[in-house]
C-alpha cells in the first residue's frame, strides 16, 4: 500500500514540477496544505507528513535515522566492509531491517523504484541538477544552507532528521545525551582545555590534517582542545582539510597528534621520516587510530561520536600524561611509537 500511494504522490509531484509554474504556484499550494517546511542549501522542501520510507543518500544519514528508530529503505555506501553499510556502532539499531545498499554514483532510476516518501541527501554531495531530478521522485532534504556540503554539525543534522520523520523529542533526547557525554569527559579532564590537538592522515604519500568544519576536528574541539595556530594559517580544501608539504610537518606538531588511519596503512606513517622531527613524536604524544574508530570519527554522528569517545578517552589521557615513556597502546600496536 505505501508503495502505490507514494506512486500516486509521485505523479502529482511530477505534474507540479513539469508545470514549470512551480516557482509561483507550488509555494502557494504548499502554504495552503501546511506540512513540514525545511530551508536548505538548494532551496525549500515541504513534507506533507512525517516521512516513513526514507532513502538515505548522505554518506552518514543511516546513523541518524537508526538512532531515531527508523530504518532507511536504502543506505548510501561510503566505505568499509559492514553489512548494509551500517557500522558496528549503529548495527544494534538496525534490527531485522534489510536496507538496499546504493554504491558509487546514485542511480536515479534505482531511487525512483524504491518509491521513498523522503530522500535524505544532506552530506551526499549531489549536484543541484541531481537534486532537481530527485525532487520529482520525492521531497529531498539537502545540507543546512549555513554550512558546506559535508560540514553540517551532527546535532543540527540530527535535529533536521528528527523533524522530518516526526521524532523531534527523541532527537533532542539523543543530542542531549551525546552533549552530556562530552561534557562529562571535559569535566574528567580539565587539563585538556586549551591544549592543542590535531587529527592528521597519511595517504598516498600525502600528509594532511583535518580542520574547520571536519567531524574529526570538531570531536577534538568538543573535548576542549584547540587546533595548532600554524594549522590555522594553511589554506583549507573544501572547508575541512589542509595538505602539508612533505618538507614541513610542523603545522601538526600539536600537544596531541592523532593519526586517522588503518592498520594496513600504519607502515606509511611509521615510514614517514619527517614525523621523527616532531616534538609530539619524541614525547610520545601521538595516538594511532585504526579503521573502526577512525570510521567512528569520520562518520561523526550522534551514534558514532559517543562510540569513539568511549574508545579513545583513556588513550588520549595516556598520550597527554606528561610522561613520554608511558606507551600509548594503539600506537605501539601499530608500530609507530617512538
Amino acid at each position: 500500500m505505501p508503495r502505490s500511494s507514494s506512486r500516486a504522490s509521485l505523479c502529482r509531484r511530477s505534474f507540479l514540477a513539469s508545470a514549470a509554474a512551480s516557482v509561483l504556484a507550488a509555494p502557494a499550494l504548499r502554504a495552503h496544505q501546511g506540512g513540514l517546511r525545511f530551508t536548505h542549501a538548494y532551496g525549500e522542501t515541504v513534507l506533507p507528513a512525517p516521512a516513513r520510507r526514507v532513502v538515505s543518500l548522505g554518506y552518514t544519514g543511516q546513523d541518524m535515522l537508526l538512532a531515531l528508530g527508523l530504518a532507511p529503505i536504502a543506505v548510501r555506501y561510503w566505505y568499509g566492509d559492514h553489512p548494509f553499510g551500517v557500522w558496528p556502532w549503529a548495527q544494534p539499531y538496525l534490527g531485522d531491517a534489510r536496507p538496499v545498499l546504493i554504491t558509487g554514483e546514485v542511480s536515479l532510476e534505482r531511487v525512483a523504484d524504491l518509491a521513498p516518501d523522503l530522500i535524505l541527501a544532506a552530506g551526499s554531495g549531489i549536484s543541484r541538477a541531481e537534486y532537481e531530478v530527485l525532487s520529482r521522485i520525492a521531497p529531498v532534504l539537502m545540507h543546512d544552507p549555513r554550512h558546506s556540503p559535508y560540514g553540517t554539525p551532527w546535532d543540527v543534522e540530527t535535529r533536521i532528521v528528527g523533524r522530518a520523520i516526526g521524532r523531534e523529542n527523541l532527537a533532542e533526547e539523543r543530542i542531549a545525551g551525546v552533549h552530556a557525554a562530552f561534557a562529562a569527559a571535559r569535566a574528567r579532564h580539565p587539563d585538556w582545555a586549551g591544549r592543542t590537538a590535531v587529527a592528521a592522515y597519511q595517504d598516498g604519500g600525502q600528509t594532511g590534517a583535518f580542520a574547520g568544519e571536519d567531524t574529526r576536528a570538531r570531536f577534538l574541539a568538543a573535548l576542549g582542545f584547540r587546533p595548532p595556530e600554524a594549522l590555522g594559517r594553511l589554506p583549507l580544501i573544501s572547508g575541512f582539510y589542509a595538505q602539508l608539504s612533505p618538507e614541513d610537518l610542523s603545522p601538526i606538531d600539536a600537544d596531541l597528534l592523532i593519526w586517522i588511519s588503518s592498520l594496513a596503512r600504519a607502515p606509511d606513517i611509521a615510514g614517514l621520516a619527517m614525523r621523527r622531527t616532531l616534538r609530539a613524536f619524541a614525547q610520545g604524544r601521538e595516538l594511532f587510530v585504526d579503521e573502526l574508530i577512525a570510521g567512528a570519527l569520520s562518520f561523526g554522528s550522534v551514534l558514532s561520536l559517543p562510540f569513539a569517545l568511549k574508545a579513545l578517552e583513556a588513550d588520549i589521557a595516556t598520550a597527554l600524561d606528561g610522561r613520554p615513556w608511558t606507551p600509548v597502546a594503539p600506537s605501539v600496536a601499530a608500530g609507530i611509537a617512538p
Binding site: 558509487g104 598516498g204 600525502q206 589554506p235 608539504s245 618538507e247 614541513d248 621520516a273 621523527r276 619524541a282
Partner: protein, 327 residues
C-alpha cells in the same frame, strides 16, 4: 654532440632539486646532513630522506622515459609516440592497480613486478593495433590506437576506484605520477633495469635505423625485422615499467625529449638515446622542483607539471605533421 652543456644542464637540475623547496637549506646544513646525520633534525631529514630519493627517482624515471620515447619514435617513425600517450604508462599503472587490488598486494616490490608485464602487453597491443607489425605504423593510425588504449586502460583504473572507494590514495599516485613517494620505491633495482634497457637500446639502435628504411631494404641489409621490433618493444616495456614503478605515470616526457635530443645529437640513434636519457632526467627534475614551490606548501605532482609543459609541445608537433607523411 655537445656533451659539456648537457652535463651542466643535468648537474644544474640536480642541484636545484636538492637545494630548492619549502624548507630553505644552507650549504652548511647540507654538509652537516651528509657528515653527521641527525634523524630528528628537520633539515637533515628533508635533504637525505626526501630530496635525495626524489633526485634519484627523477634521474631513473627521467632517463627511462627519454630512452623509451626515443626508441618508440624511432621504431614507429612517429613524432607523437610517447609511452604516456600511447598507453604504455597506463598499461603499467593499470596492471599495478588491478593486480595489486585483486591479489591484495601491499608489498611495493611485488606491485612493481606487475608494471613490466603491464607495460609489455600495452606496448605490443598498441604497436599491433597501430599496424606496426606490418610495417605501416603511420602517425595517425598509431596515435589513434594509442589514445584509445590509453583511455581504455585509465577507465579501468577509474572503474576500480568507483567500486573501491578506499583505493583513492592508490589511484592518485597511479593516475598522475609524482616523485613524492620516491623513498618507498625500489630505486636501485629500477636503476639497474633502466641501465639494462639502455644497453639493449644502444645494441639494437643500428638495426632500428636500418628498419626505418623499410622492411624490405632492412632485410637486404641483414636485419630481421621481427627480432628488431621485439627487442625495441622490450626496451620500451622495460624502461617504461621501471619509470612507472619509480614515479607513476609521467606523461609527455617521452614526447618532448626526443625532438630536443635530435637537435643536439643529429640523426644518429645511439647519440640521440644518450642525449635523451640525460635530457629526460634533467626535465623531470626541473618539473618536480618547480611543482614543489609553485603553490607551496602544497605540491603540484611532477606528472601534472610535465603534462602542463608537454601539452603545448604535443600540439606544436602535431601541427607540423603533414597528412600522409611518415615524419
Amino acid at each position: 654532440m655537445r656533451t659539456l652543456p648537457l652535463l651542466a644542464l643535468v648537474a644544474a637540475a640536480a642541484a636545484l632539486s636538492l637545494g630548492v623547496g619549502v624548507r630553505p637549506l644552507s650549504p652548511g646544513n647540507v654538509w652537516q646532513a651528509l657528515t653527521a646525520f641527525d634523524a630528528t633534525d628537520a633539515d637533515h631529514v628533508t635533504l637525505l630522506a626526501l630530496r635525495l630519493p626524489r633526485l634519484a627517482a627523477g634521474l631513473v624515471a627521467g632517463a627511462a622515459l627519454g630512452i623509451a620515447g626515443t626508441m618508440m619514435q624511432a621504431l614507429t617513425r612517429n613524432p607523437l609516440a610517447d609511452p604516456g600517450l600511447l598507453g604504455v604508462n597506463a598499461g603499467a599503472a593499470c596492471a599495478i592497480v588491478a593486480g595489486g587490488l585483486m591479489l591484495g598486494l601491499r608489498d611495493e616490490g611485488a606491485m612493481a613486478a606487475l608494471a613490466f608485464p603491464g607495460a609489455a602487453l600495452a606496448s605490443v597491443a598498441v604497436f599491433a593495433l597501430g599496424g606496426g607489425l606490418r610495417g605501416d605504423a603511420g602517425p595517425v593510425r598509431l596515435t589513434l590506437a594509442g589514445a584509445a588504449l590509453n583511455a581504455l586502460l585509465l577507465s579501468v583504473v577509474s572503474a576500480i576506484l568507483l567500486i573501491r572507494q578506499e583505493t583513492l590514495d592508490v589511484f592518485r599516485f597511479w593516475v598522475a605520477g609524482s616523485l613524492t613517494q620516491a623513498a618507498e620505491r625500489p630505486l636501485a633495482g629500477m636503476a639497474l633495469v633502466v641501465a639494462a634497457a639502455g644497453g639493449l637500446a644502444l645494441a639494437v639502435a643500428p638495426a632500428v635505423e636500418a628498419l626505418s628504411l623499410g622492411a624490405a631494404l632492412a632485410r637486404g641489409l641483414g636485419v630481421r625485422p621481427g627480432r628488431v621490433q621485439a627487442a625495441a618493444l622490450a626496451v620500451v616495456a622495460l624502461a617504461t615499467g621501471a619509470a612507472v614503478t619509480v614515479a607513476g605515470p609521467i606523461a609527455f616526457l617521452g614526447l618532448m625529449v626526443p625532438p630536443l635530443a635530435r637537435r643536439l645529437a643529429g640523426h644518429a640513434l645511439r647519440a640521440e638515446l644518450l642525449v635523451s636519457a640525460a635530457m629526460g632526467a634533467a626535465i623531470l627534475l626541473l618539473a618536480d622542483t618547480a611543482g614543489r614551490v609553485l603553490i607551496a606548501p602544497a605540491e603540484v605532482r611532477a606528472g601534472v607539471m610535465t603534462a602542463l609543459i608537454g601539452g603545448p609541445v604535443f600540439i606544436l608537433i602535431a601541427r607540423r605533421i603533414r597528412p600522409g607523411a611518415m615524419a
